[in-house]
């Protein structure tokens, strides 16, 4: 998350003055497991992309291209949904 502000710098009453500013809040710090995506195993079925609740599967030129670690909370749904025989995403413990 960005630098913490003092009580003098923040909006009164905890009001969020801008619409759609949640992208500034990097929820990736919550992660305790990190998904690792293996390009060579991926069959481009988009199941991970369809199921990811945080829109954290990166797509480049119409193809799965990796994971956005700024917002991925490490829930493991992508790894679970990846077909068993393919196994293109593996969850590994996050380094602390």
């Amino acid at each position: 998350m960005s630098e913490l502000k003092s009580w003098k710098e923040i909006a009164e009453g905890a009001i969020i003055e801008e619409a759609g500013n949640s992208e500034e809040y990097k929820t990736g710090t919550w992660r305790s497991f990190r998904p690792i995506w293996y390009e060579d195993r991926c069959i481009q079925c988009y199941r991970c992309w369809a199921f990811c609740p945080d829109s954290s599967i990166l797509i480049k030129d119409g193809k799965v291209a990796g994971i956005n670690y700024d917002y991925c909370k490490g829930c493991g749904i992508c790894a679970h949904e990846c077909p068993k025989k393919v196994n293109a995403i593996e969850m590994v413990p996050e380094r602390t």
Partner: protein, 392 residues
């Protein structure tokens, strides 16, 4: 131009509300404050105000509706008592935490059980730490004046905290007394137009109200509420002075009644101050140096100013109309004693709990306490804590 007429406390408050003409009132009836909204509903029905009156199903909903209306940019008022305030409790810190401007009249009544509809301050004292400014009123006149001033205080840009105007149930709310009131246009001119600084309904600039805050920011927002309270000190004095300049009745943090040279001092809020004043007058006729300090502002508590006003006292009796059950004494006593300690004034302060559930508090009771204090000055012995007019 001001006129005199006979008013009950409730009528005085309803009249002030009529003259303020708020955008929204949401309230649920509870004795002894019911009559305020009952009278106000007449004003709405007769077209004397253009307020949106929301007849909600509970006090919890009343305060919720007031918060929503305040955030939407409205001028908002309500009234309640006792269990009604208790049922609002959850929302009281929401109102202050979201920096809502609003004015609520609290007609003080005891909390159950046993069920009692009569006056004491246990409702107000139970909410003293919820971030609301608390003004206390001795009589209908002060209730009327406080409600009008409260509008200016709560809407001030440095404050933006809700204000609770307290007045004693039945003793004031249902008794007629002579009161001076202003013309509608003078009240309108004094309070001015409400210019909300943000609005929930502004679709041009959408904002999020009531978002969750994690441990890394919660304390910062509570510190802001404290700042609003601190800033309110100056605003309360400014508004009280301007009110006095315009209407002839000046208001500060407290009233000092024959305090200058007083050695024996009573501290008491709301209607009982009238009873104490009567006894002080009697004793002064005998040449006894006795006085009264009547706090008007309990939140923010005027510690420095009160300690200064009590500097010549040799013994102080703080009268509390609410229990703390297991505390060293009542809330007013604790605040007063703390203020004196900070000022390094080691004067003896005693506490008397009186008038719970509207138990009689008569001049003879004040006189009895005075005699104990006089005895203390001779012997150095006195009970620090006791009940008044209790059967042992």
């Amino acid at each position: 131009m001001q006129k005199f007429d006979a008013f009950t406390g409730n009528l005085a408050i309803a009249t002030a509300m009529k003259q303020i003409n708020p955008d929204v009132c949401a309230a649920y009836p509870i004795t002894p404050s019911t009559e305020i909204m009952m009278l106000f509903a007449d004003f709405v029905a007769n077209g004397e105000v253009d307020t949106e009156l929301v007849t909600v199903e509970s006090e919890h909903s009343a305060m919720s509706a007031c918060i929503g209306a305040s955030l939407a940019g409205g001028r908002v008022m309500t009234a309640t008592s006792s269990a009604g305030l208790a049922y609002m409790w959850e929302l009281l810190s929401v109102a202050s935490g979201l920096r809502c401007s609003m004015v609520m009249t609290l007609v003080n009544r005891a909390l159950s059980a046993p069920l009692n509809i009569h006056c004491d301050h246990s409702d107000a004292m139970g909410t003293k730490d919820t971030g609301w400014i608390q003004l206390f009123s001795e009589n209908a006149q002060e209730a009327y004046d406080n409600v009008i001033q409260a509008v200016r205080i709560t809407e001030h840009k440095d404050v933006r905290l809700p204000v609770m105007v307290c007045v004693d149930g039945f003793i004031i709310s249902h008794s007629y007394e002579k009161m001076q009131y202003m013309e509608d246009k003078d009240v309108k001119d004094f309070i001015g137009e409400f210019k909300p600084y943000r609005s929930l309904l502004n679709v041009e600039k959408p904002e999020t109200f009531g978002a969750m805050v994690l441990p890394n920011y919660y304390m910062e927002f509570k510190r802001q509420v404290r700042e609003g309270m601190e800033k309110a000190r100056k605003v309360i004095l400014e508004v009280g002075k301007e009110f006095g300049d315009r209407f002839g009745r000046y208001y500060g943090y407290f009233e000092d009644f024959m305090l200058d040279d007083a050695e024996i001092v009573f501290v008491v809020m709301n209607s009982a101050a009238g009873t104490v004043k009567h006894v002080v007058n009697m004793l002064r006729k005998k040449g006894i140096k006795v006085g009264l300090l009547k706090p008007r502002v309990f939140r923010p508590f005027p510690s420095k100013e009160m300690a200064d006003a009590l500097r010549n006292a040799k013994v102080v009796c703080v009268l509390d109309r609410a229990e703390t059950f297991g505390g060293e004494g009542g809330s007013l006593y604790l605040e007063t004693k703390s203020a004196l300690q900070t000022a390094k004034n080691n004067v003896t302060v005693i506490n008397r709990i009186y008038g719970l559930g509207q138990r009689d508090f008569l001049p003879t009771h004040v006189d009895d306490i005075y005699k104990e204090m006089q005895e203390f000055l001779n012997t150095g012995n006195i009970k620090l804590f006791d009940y008044v007019n209790l059967r042992d």
